[in-house]
């Protein structure tokens, strides 16, 4: 059983993974569950804008940097489970499938299956890509030596 207290944290993590994953990979993972849920849309899949905010000096007053495209979907499964997805970009197919996955995971038992079959492998791929990037950047780490005038003389 997954611990109930961490439900919000796990959902946050699911959102993070589903928002960044590749649609084709998500679909492949979803197929392994061999499910064909009955899906109705709570509202039409919608693409719009999110205003991105930063903080002056990184920690100060909030300000608007500019907008980004965002796509959201909300679905209800045949058995009444509800799921949502919101992700940057305009990928409506991914938004729909992500909302279905979110709905499936709202059932405690199914959540484990969803985690193991879909979320965990996608998360691994994403963090592998992050680690690869961080290592490549780490190779550009430089140590500057301050030259003292007259040192060579």
């Amino acid at each position: 059983m997954l611990d109930g207290a961490g439900t919000d944290a796990r959902r946050r993590d699911r959102f993070a993974v589903l928002a960044r994953c590749d649609f084709t990979e998500l679909e492949q993972r979803f197929r392994t569950l061999d499910l064909d849920p009955d899906v109705t849309f709570l509202r039409p899949v919608e693409t719009g804008l999110v205003m991105l905010r930063g903080r002056a000096g990184g920690t100060g007053a909030a300000f608007n940097i500019g907008e980004a495209t965002v796509t959201r979907a909300s679905v209800r499964l045949g058995d009444g489970r509800i799921g949502h997805s919101v992700a940057l970009g305009r990928d409506r197919k991914r938004a729909t499938l992500a909302a279905v996955v979110d709905a499936l995971a709202s059932d405690a038992d199914e959540e484990i299956r969803v985690e193991e079959a879909i979320i965990a492998p996608l998360r691994r791929a994403l963090s592998e890509a992050d680690r690869h990037e961080v290592e490549r950047v780490a190779a550009t780490k430089v140590d500057f030596f301050t030259m003292v005038r007259g040192e060579d003389e």
């Binding site: 804008l49 991105l52 920690t59 100060g60 780490a138 780490k141």
Partner: protein, 377 residues
């Protein structure tokens, strides 16, 4: 003033066909794909997103392609596109301290937690044209990897810990609630502005204009003694508060460039001297723009620090009302529209003036000053 004209539909239609043909160029060459533009002209795409004030690499790539590489035209296209979409959310302010770092340098400290990470930089290249990039590329770059170091702490946070630099805390009202920051896409700006409003305007402002203004402060027009405390580029997680769930959720990442300029001091009888800050935050990898923005942000804080406002970069209304290249290009380029009636009246006036001049030629009661004044009106 210009007046409406009618007709010309066929000519306009043909001009647009010609434009499409010129855009495509020599058809013996393959057409550019959006993926190629987004990947291989990534910094053009970043600039279009930043100044178009819309983060979407595919749309920005499309805009670059459609505009034949004219970046201001591409920015205009992106601005126009955004007006067709509804605003669904405002994000939680991004945490640049938690950035997945692609590049991070400081000109203030040689050794600092997380180190100096050069990342994919043009710095230290010799700026020699590279014949290897002519034609098809053959070899792939042999990329090295390095051991992952410590957390990359913001330089400004290090300085703030010792109170050496002015603090930057969220602004809250009496109930500890942060007010909504002003949004120039929703309400028109009225001067004077808050720093938050200025930062939004600068973040979408023209890189060239801000670069020139930033440069002017260095050359003495509103000097503020800057050090590049830190420049960092990387991906940050965007979160929104989702009402359906009652908590914040991550919705993906965006690439940002942040510049923290550390500037000379302020202090008073109540407060010991502290460094002051200039801040730049820009979509994509846009180091020059982020640095320029930080210089101009600091210059525009002159009123706050009771400095003399003597230079263009310190004049908020001058800077903010001229930094938008879509507005600027609109007004400059509107001069192309028919001004036939206006010009007819000018022609009449100049003919009258010339006649008066010819009639009065040789006489002593010449009224030069009268002429020039009238003509200027």
């Amino acid at each position: 003033m210009y007046v409406a004209v009618k007709g010309g539909e066929t000519a306009i239609d043909n001009a647009h066909r010609l434009l499409a043909e010129k855009r495509r160029g020599d058809r013996r060459l393959p057409a550019l794909t959006l993926g190629q533009i987004a990947e291989q002209l990534a910094l053009s795409v970043a600039r279009v997103m930043a100044e178009g004030a819309l983060y979407d690499t595919q749309l920005a790539a499309l805009a670059v392609k459609q505009a034949r590489g004219d970046l201001i035209e591409a920015i205009f296209l992106l601005r126009a596109y955004r007006t067709t979409l509804p605003r669904l959310y405002d994000s939680v302010p991004v945490d640049t301290g938690a950035m997945l770092i692609e590049r991070r340098i400081s000109a203030c400290f040689k050794d600092l937690p997380g180190g100096q990470l050069l990342g994919p930089t043009f710095d230290y290249t010799h700026r020699l044209l590279d014949p290897n990039l002519v034609g098809e590329e053959e070899q792939t770059t042999d990329l090295q990897t390095g051991p992952v170091g410590d957390a990359v702490v913001r330089v400004s946070d290090l300085l703030a810990n010792d109170d050496l630099i002015e603090g930057e805390e969220p602004v809250t009202n009496g109930h500890g609630v942060e007010p909504e920051p002003g949004d120039m896409t929703r309400e028109p700006l009225s001067y004077p502005l808050t720093r938050e409003q200025r930062l939004q305007a600068l973040a979408r402002g023209d890189e060239g204009f801000l670069l020139a203004l930033g440069y002017s402060t260095q050359r003495g027009y509103g000097r503020n003694h800057p050090f590049a405390g830190e420049i960092r580029i990387g991906a940050v997680e965007v979160e929104i508060d989702l009402p359906e769930l009652g908590h914040a959720v991550p919705i993906g990442r965006v690439q940002l460039t942040e510049c923290q300029m550390v500037n000379q001091f302020r202090g008073s009888s109540e407060m010991p001297p502290q460094f002051t800050r200039g801040y730049g935050l820009v979509f994509g990898q846009s180091e020059r723009k982020a640095m320029s923005m930080a210089l101009v942000d600091r210059a525009l804080r002159a009123r706050e620090f009771e400095e003399d406002i003597i230079a263009p970069a310190q004049d908020e209304e001058f800077v903010v009302s001229h930094c938008d290249n879509v507005q600027a290009t609109g007004f400059v380029e509107h001069l192309k529209l028919p001004h036939y009636v206006d010009f007819q009246s000018e022609l009449q006036l100049i003919r009258t003036l010339r006649k008066e001049w010819a009639d009065g030629a040789g006489t002593d009661d010449d009224e030069d000053t009268g002429f020039s004044q009238e003509a200027a009106e």
